[in-house]
């Protein structure tokens, strides 16, 4: 007997929830917002579940919804801080290794525009190619390249401990 769409959806959520939550956390920088983002994304996915399954690649669709939903939130509420011309006082070099670097990245990510943040998460956390990231965001590969370049430059200026960041095309 084959499982119904509700069962297959639950199975999918059970299997992929961790990945989605982590990506959402990186995008929002806040655990509550991340939870809301994942819930809204999955509710939207559930509304088209049969169609998504029929197309054969649920991950791609879910990722697309997650990132678009995140940008759409930002457009609607503008909760995120806007980029500013003068960068406030910056942290010094990191003498304590990766844990402190993560904190610095978290603070720096919060100061990026949502699309820049999305590009970085897609490229350097989810490990997607430029073309795949472009497909998820619904933009051209050139846009992904320029957004990545700008985002890295901004990270370098905000967090000097990430000064060795370079753009690598794949």
């Amino acid at each position: 007997m084959t499982a119904g769409p509700a069962d297959s959806f639950r199975e999918y959520v059970h299997a992929r929830l961790g990945v989605l939550v982590r990506a959402a956390f990186l995008l929002t920088g806040d655990s509550y917002l991340a939870e809301d983002l994942v819930q809204q994304t999955l509710a939207k996915v559930a509304s088209r579940w049969e169609q998504i399954v029929a197309e054969g690649n649920p991950d791609a669709y879910v990722r697309r919804v997650l990132y678009h939903q995140h940008v759409s939130w930002w457009r609607r509420w503008r909760r995120e801080p806007l980029p500013v011309a003068a960068v406030p006082e910056v942290a010094g070099a990191d003498p304590h290794g990766p844990a402190t670097t993560a904190i610095a990245v978290r603070q720096a990510l919060a100061k990026l525009a949502p699309k820049q943040r999305a590009v970085l998460v897609l490229r350097y956390f989810e490990d997607l190619t430029e073309a795949q990231a472009a497909q998820v965001l619904g933009v051209s590969t050139g846009t992904v390249k320029s957004q990545t370049r700008d985002a890295l430059a901004r990270l370098r200026s905000i967090a000097p401990e990430l000064a060795d960041l370079q753009e690598v095309s794949r």
Binding site: L17, R22, F25, A46, W49, V168
Partner: protein
């Protein structure tokens, strides 16, 4: 470089708390789906309804029809059940009107066929009578006086009686009708005495089209009422009396109501119809009923009796009062003289058994000529008298356009289209799902 960022992002992502998704996530998704579908349907309906009102060429209304052509059709089909109503889009002047049961109304409905060949329905109120079409096809006088061009309806006060169809003057500016005064239903007082009067006389009135006013031209018992205007419209012939044994024919001056001549009529004689006055104004055509003269014995319930419904014409010299019978005897069915064509009377002849109708021309001394005028529906259609007398009769058969429809029909059609589209989408998805499953089954296992 990116290894640093990747490591930092992974470390940061590791700080994400464990989460449990709510149990109702699937139901929330279904709610979103239902809402989306409802919004889609609503949007489609909105677009459809808006599209209906856009001034597109070949949209609803009489624009569907061809240009006015002045020929009478040889045959007219039934309207569609969803045919546009007259009140929504008047299509006068009329080429003909006829009654039909082919509508969604419980009562028989009236079909108005415009001179642009468009079809419109007029739904009758329960018990409402049909009415009479004016000679120019512009007005229709039933319970109300309706302008078929503008759609304006004027309620007459007092109301004219539905028992006798109004008869139009040749110029379509006025009509004669009866305002019944009889107390038909007996009413008794406390001691059983009858307190209403079944013998009250009726008012014979001229209805003025421009202002809808009624002017009494004669007061008489109108149980056997029939009327015909003279060709110049100055005189009016009417039949009055309590019953067939006591009926008489009066010639009235229309302007003053003065009775110019009174002639007794036999129980088998009657004014032949609304066009009974000959074109030269010197003769009035009467029908003489052969066989069974009274209605109860000729009600058509028994075929042998209906076979007895025969008539012949009589010519009454209006000046001298002399009556001359035509040579022919035993013409079948129930006649109504409705027009004159090429000097000969045109009669609509109804068979009371099957309610079939034939329109025939009776040339003097010649055999009857059946005119090619047929319509679906009940009984005889009504044609404008002017059209019957002047227009060619060999027009093409008329069928209504299914797109001349009422608004609800467009909405229903929209819903059907939406349902079909929905079905196609659903089947497509099912097919795609099946083909995906099938591909997965036949695909070779990936190398390990």
């Amino acid at each position: 470089m990116t290894a640093t960022l990747h490591r930092a992002l992974v470390d940061l992502a590791g700080e994400a708390p464990d989460m449990r998704m709510p149990e109702d996530l699937w139901r929330r998704g279904r709610r979103i789906r239902r809402r989306r579908r409802a919004a889609g349907i609503l949007a489609c309906l909105l677009v459809s309804v808006t599209a209906m009102w856009l001034p597109w060429p070949n949209a609803t209304g009489s624009r569907f029809a061809g240009t006015d052509d002045r020929t009478l059709p040889t045959w007219v089909a039934q309207p569609y059940l969803w045919q546009q109503t007259f009140s929504e889009d008047p299509n006068g002047p009329a080429k003909l009107v006829f009654e039909t049961g082919h509508s969604l109304d419980l009562e028989p409905s009236l079909v108005v066929v415009g001179q642009d060949d468009s079809f419109r329905l007029i739904y009758h109120d329960p018990g409402e009578w049909t009415g009479s079409l004016s000679p120019d096809g512009r007005y229709f006088l039933g319970d109300n006086l309706v302008d078929l061009v503008t759609g304006q309806s004027r309620k007459l006060s007092p109301a004219v009686s539905s028992a006798w169809p109004a008869v139009w003057s040749p110029d379509s500016r006025s009509a004669v009708a009866v305002v019944g005064k009889d107390d038909v239903v007996p009413t008794t007082g406390p001691t059983g005495e009858r307190i209403n009067d079944p013998t009250r006389l009726d008012n014979i009135v001229i209805v003025s089209v421009p202002d809808g006013s009624l002017r009494v031209v004669h007061v008489a018992e109108a149980d056997v009422f029939r009327a015909a205007f003279s060709p110049d419209g100055t005189r009016l012939a009417i039949t009055v009396g309590r019953d067939r044994q006591n009926q008489e024919l009066l010639i009235l001056d229309v302007a003053t109501g003065t009775v110019q001549r009174t002639l007794p009529l036999g129980e088998r004689q009657q004014i032949a119809g609304s066009a009974a006055w000959s074109p030269d104004g010197r003769r009035l055509i009467l029908t003489f009923t052969e066989g069974c003269p009274t209605s109860p014995s000729c009600d058509g319930s028994i075929p042998e009796q209906s076979a007895l419904q025969r008539f012949h014409l009589q010519y009454l010299d209006v000046d001298t009062g002399t009556v001359t019978d035509e040579a022919v005897r035993g013409r079948p069915d129930r006649p109504e003289l409705i027009a004159w064509r090429q000097g000969a009377p045109v009669l609509s002849v109804t068979n009371d058994v099957d309610n079939s109708c034939a329109i025939v021309r009776l040339p003097d001394g010649g055999s009857p000529e059946a005119l090619p005028l047929r319509a679906a529906g009940y009984g005889c259609p009504q044609y404008p008298r002017n059209a019957l007398e002047q227009w060619p009769l060999d027009g093409p058969q008329l069928r209504p356009s299914p797109w001349q429809a009422q608004n609800w029909a467009y909405i229903a059609l929209g819903l059907v289209v939406l349902a079909c589209v929905g079905l196609v989408v659903k089947l497509r998805r099912r097919w795609r799902r099946r083909s995906t499953t099938w591909r997965a089954r036949i695909a070779p296992d990936p190398p390990r």
